[in-house]
């Protein structure tokens, strides 16, 4: 098995920043990313046959992403980037099994930085599996990356600032946006303004997006959300209405109807913690940052020596935080490898730490606004699918509870929930919360659908060839 001084898994902002700092300090680093080019979700690169003529017209994300990609290129040859590579398992702490096309191999990482990002949180409601219902992330990929218009008339619902961003992007792409429904309260109150003062740039962004909606005449309703999507073969009508401001319980008697062919739903994100879990890292539950997250110290070190976790995969906090966390981990890894003195390393970490501190107050405000509340659990009815892979309805989960299931694992065995292609990644967060609420148990008692390899789909043929490939390399 080949050994690498540092492997970074994930080429989003956090992973790129980690690799850049490690590379600058002279640490040999291998960056593995499953996308065709680094960038992650937010800085996703365009398909290769696209030609970009006026980069400024593509928005700030594109420009920032290009800047990071340029910095990453400048660190070669210390940093080697391999795209289209999925890490499917981590065993014995830091042994990686990767797959790419039909090839596979093993790498032993002396140090490992996990920057695995986050995925859209699925919130089941009647009709949520109809064609024409997209996640905010999915809608963004269509508009931003593939320049495809996903519908002609849209309703945008969920929580968090991303709703505004998506609504603006849809509007610019020529989609008529009927309304934006934010389940939470108005974002910024006067009393909170001082907390945000240091992050003027963020305030300005939010202001810009809000102005964008206003000038386009798109209504924004706070403490409102989607109740149900209806349609024969695809979304035709959406029922929506107010939720109570504290717990977000839907007030279904006050439902209104709107005819749309696109429903974009964004209830925030859930950290991708599978690889950290397989590496043996300790995790804790924090609903403010998306649920289960690795336990870390201030230098991004997990409970497994030599394994770091950064970015949204370690707690959803957005791109700005992700970049700074990545930097800290990259610098610390170089220090650990003896390439930076403790004093040098501390100097290099200082700006990133200062920035994180400044962002902390913004995070607190945003977390408080967008933290998922239990009222959303009332959206699903007994016949609503809660696991779309295995077509498990909520009634089956209720039956499992009646039969004595008190945790996710036993519910899974009873109902087949989470046994499908996504391996529970989609249904685990919501069903975990459902069990907590109905059984009055803590998240740790309800547990998880334990992540198992392969973390990404991979064929028998590929895995069967594992050893030979590793020896050849």
């Amino acid at each position: 098995m080949i050994t690498k001084p540092l492997v970074v898994v994930g080429g989003g902002p956090a992973g790129m920043a980690a690799a850049i700092e490690a590379g600058r300090a002279g640490l040999q680093c291998l960056l593995l990313d499953e996308a065709p080019a680094p960038g992650g979700q937010i800085y996703r690169a365009f398909p290769q046959d696209f030609r970009v003529e006026g980069p400024l017209g593509l928005g700030k994300d594109f420009v920032n992403g290009e800047a990071l990609r340029e910095q990453l290129k400048a660190t070669a040859p210390a940093v080697e980037t391999r795209s289209d590579v999925a890490v499917v398992n981590v065993s014995r702490g830091r042994e990686l099994l990767w797959a790419s096309g039909g090839a596979t191999g093993s790498i032993c990482a002396e140090q490992l930085i996990l920057a695995t990002g986050a995925r859209d949180r699925a919130v089941p409601f009647p009709g949520w599996t109809l064609p024409g219902v997209l996640t905010a992330g999915g809608a963004q990929v269509m508009v931003k990356t593939y320049r495809v218009k996903p519908g002609s008339r849209a309703l945008v619902a969920g929580t968090g600032p991303l709703l505004l961003v998506v609504a603006n992007q849809l509007h610019q792409a020529g989609v008529e946006v009927a309304a934006v429904l934010e389940a939470g309260r108005p974002w910024i109150s006067l009393s909170e303004l001082p907390k945000l003062w240091g992050e003027w740039g963020l305030l300005r962004d939010a202001w810009t997006y809000w102005r964008g909606l206003q000038s386009a005449g798109i209504p924004l309703h706070f403490n409102h959300t989607v109740f149900e999507a209806r349609g024969k073969d695809q979304v035709e009508t959406v029922l929506y209405g107010p939720v109570d401001p504290v717990r977000w319980h839907p007030q279904k008697t006050a439902a209104q109807k709107v005819d749309v062919d696109l429903l974009v739903v964004g209830f925030g994100f859930v950290p991708n913690t599978e690889l950290g879990y397989l590496a043996g890292c300790g995790h804790e539950y924090d609903d403010k940052v998306g649920g289960w997250i690795p336990i870390r110290d201030e230098r991004m070190r997990t409970t497994v020596p030599g394994v770091y976790s950064v970015g949204d995969g370690a707690g959803v906090a957005g791109v700005l935080v992700a970049v700074e966390e990545g930097r800290i981990a990259g610098i610390t890894a170089a220090e650990q490898a003896g390439l930076l003195s403790p004093i040098d390393a501390a100097d290099r970490r200082e700006p990133a730490e200062a920035r994180l501190k400044s962002l902390q107050s913004v995070r607190e405000v945003l977390d408080d606004i967008s933290r998922i509340r239990e009222g959303l659990l009332d959206l699903a009815t007994p016949s609503t699918l809660v696991c779309r892979c295995e077509e498990v309805r909520l009634s089956a989960v209720q039956r499992a509870i009646d039969e004595g299931c008190k945790d996710l694992q036993s519910t899974k065995l009873f109902t087949r929930l989470g046994m499908g292609a996504c391996q529970g990644r989609s249904c685990e967060p919501h069903l975990g919360a459902y069990l907590c609420q109905h059984l009055k148990r803590a998240p740790a008692a309800v547990g998880r659908i334990n992540p198992q390899p392969p973390v990404r789909p991979v064929t028998f043929g590929t895995l069967a060839a594992a050893q030979e490939t590793a020896e050849e390399r």
Partner: protein, 548 residues
């Protein structure tokens, strides 16, 4: 204090639920106490109910046989994997025969369908070695040969078109079927509840109260269950429950890993066993590939090695799997017993305690008969099946180990078992002048009391006693003494593993030492010697339920 219960069953897997169900059916007041643990075998299992396949040493047995063949020196008509005794075959067949009725009975009573599927098990032959082994199975089959069917290559291709075309045929086991393993315990439990079983889930049993020689209550984290009878059906954790009454049960976890495909259309009609793995397509379309046999304690992680081996084994038999995606891999903990037989029934000197544990690979298959028999024992009825070979007392055969009055001080029977099976007088006189035969072997003289190998340490040397005697110890307990011509340390030559026992010289000794890399020469040049070594290794390995 809870209401008084006649029977408390500890463990809610297939076996525990079966005991609870049959006891409730008999009219007993039953409480089932269970806490879900990672690795519990009932839900990690593949769900094959293969009385013939399991009794004849398919699966792990044949995989081990194959390893020996590759090592050379094994005569073509020589030993195969050790088969379990006939009493096990009869037990499994009797339990297997209960499934069809049980299936409809449970579905009606509790509304849960455990998806009993009448299929068969095919031992698929991929090369000459497989064919030799299968012929021997057929010849030596101890029961009605009409239960088996020999398929030539063309027949196999016709029956299972997905199997590689250049196969050597298959041996079909007609009574072997399968169920949905997750559903099986659910189904028994739901039916049990319908009959009045009180199910207390997510509750850990912490102790068993004994007054005089009588069980009086089961203690759990936040409840005490008074009872007259406690049934230990705690699977891989049975030894822990045994300790609560001072009993050292030789039950230990044996990890098995399984690979599962994405959902596929119906492709396989039968379950398959090869010398690499077993393969079964389940009701939901997934194909399950298993399994490993590893002694790694309660570690339920999966390993890259198993992933690769199982995938390679599956593709070798079913080439189309090459392009099929692996959805998930998991591991479960079989409750291993030293002789692979379940441990059933009462123990001497303890009233109201019953074992229903140690079912190893066949907990699902043997759950129905276990449930029925334990119920008969509790009720003091005549047994519908002879349980003598399955009693705990079978481990107390050696005179040195007569049960003392104080159960707590009893040495672990598993140690004795491992020793007594493996180290009993298999002697090859050719070893005495082995140094002349094997270039590089070394003869060493040792003082009395010298520790030659230490339990738990790694080692790659093989030893033959030339002069004097050595004692084999498991922990503090001496299990056997070896004399001239007898050997030890051979397990380390088969694979990298830790020493399973400590060996100390009894008096001044002379030993011959063979390094790992010289051992192959020995086997190649002295087939008769190899045969002896391999035969002993086979039985020791089986006894130790070692890594494969």
């Amino acid at each position: 204090m809870s209401r008084a219960s006649n029977v408390v069953v500890v463990g809610g897997g297939a076996v525990g639920c079966a005991v609870a169900y049959y006891a409730a059916k008999r009219g007993l007041d039953v409480t089932l106490v269970d806490t879900p643990k990672r690795g519990r075998a009932s839900s990690a299992s593949a769900g094959g109910t293969w009385p013939l396949g399991e009794s004849l040493g398919l699966g792990c047995g044949i995989i081990f046989y194959k390893t020996l063949m590759k090592r050379g020196g094994l005569a073509k008509d020589g030993i195969g994997p050790e088969q379990l005794p006939d009493c096990f075959l009869d037990f499994s067949m009797a339990s297997n025969a209960m499934f069809p009725n049980l299936h409809s009975e449970l579905k009606e009573l509790g509304g849960v369908d455990f998806e009993f599927e009448e299929t068969t098990l095919l031992f698929v032959m991929l090369d000459e070695a497989d064919a030799t082994f299968a012929k021997m199975l057929l010849e030596k089959f101890p029961r009605d040969k009409a239960l088996l069917r020999w398929l030539e290559r063309e027949e196999l291709v016709r029956e299972e078109p997905a199997v590689r075309k250049d196969n050597c045929g298959a041996l079909q086991f007609l009574p072997d079927h399968q169920v949905n393993p997750y559903r099986f315990a659910d189904s028994l439990r739901a039916a049990g509840r319908a009959l009045g079983v009180r199910v207390v889930s997510h509750t850990e049993v912490t102790g068993i109260r004994v007054e005089g020689e009588r069980v009086v209550a089961v203690e759990a984290t936040d409840e005490v269950f008074p009872c007259e009878v406690v049934v230990n059906a705690a699977g891989a954790w049975a030894a822990e429950v045994g300790r609560m009454v001072g009993l050292k049960l030789p039950v230990h976890p044996v990890r098995g890993q399984i690979v599962c495909t994405e959902t596929l259309p119906e492709i396989l009609r039968a379950c398959l066993s090869t010398s690499d793995c077993y393969i079964a397509q389940k009701g939901h379309g997934e194909i399950i590939v298993g399994s490993t046999t590893e002694e790694v304690g309660f570690d339920v992680r999966v390993t890259p090695e198993a992933l690769r081996q199982l995938c390679a084994g599956a593709v070798r038999t079913l080439p189309f799997l090459k392009d099929v995606r692996v959805k998930r891999v998991w591991a479960g903990l079989r409750p291993g017993s030293p002789d692979e037989l379940p441990i059933l029934g009462p123990v001497a000197g303890l009233c109201g305690y019953y074992n229903a544990c140690g079912h190893f690979r066949t907990g699902i298959l043997n759950a129905p008969l276990t449930g029925k028999l334990i119920t008969e024992m509790i009720c003091g009825e005549p047994l519908s099946f002879d349980c003598q070979p399955f009693l705990f007392s079978r481990f107390d055969t050696e005179p040195a180990l007569q049960p003392s009055r104080k159960l707590r001080e009893r040495p672990s029977p598993i140690s004795n078992r491992v020793g007594s099976v493996g180290y009993s007088g298999k002697r090859y006189d050719g070893f005495l002048d082995m140094s002349a035969l094997v270039d590089g072997s070394e003869r060493v003289s040792l003082q009395a009391g010298h520790t030659v190998v230490r339990e738990g340490e790694e080692g790659d040397r093989f030893y033959v006693v030339a002069k004097g005697r050595v004692n084999v110890l498991k922990g503090e307990v001496k299990v056997v003494q070896l004399g001239p011509g007898e050997f030890f340390g051979e397990m380390a030559l088969l694979e990298q593993r830790r020493r399973s026992a400590t060996v100390v010289t009894d008096g001044p000794c002379e030993l011959m030492v063979v390094e790992r890399d010289k051992f192959d020469d020995l086997l190649a040049h002295h087939p008769e010697m190899a045969s002896t070594i391999l035969r002993v290794m086979a039985s020791r390995l089986r006894a130790a339920i070692s890594d494969r």
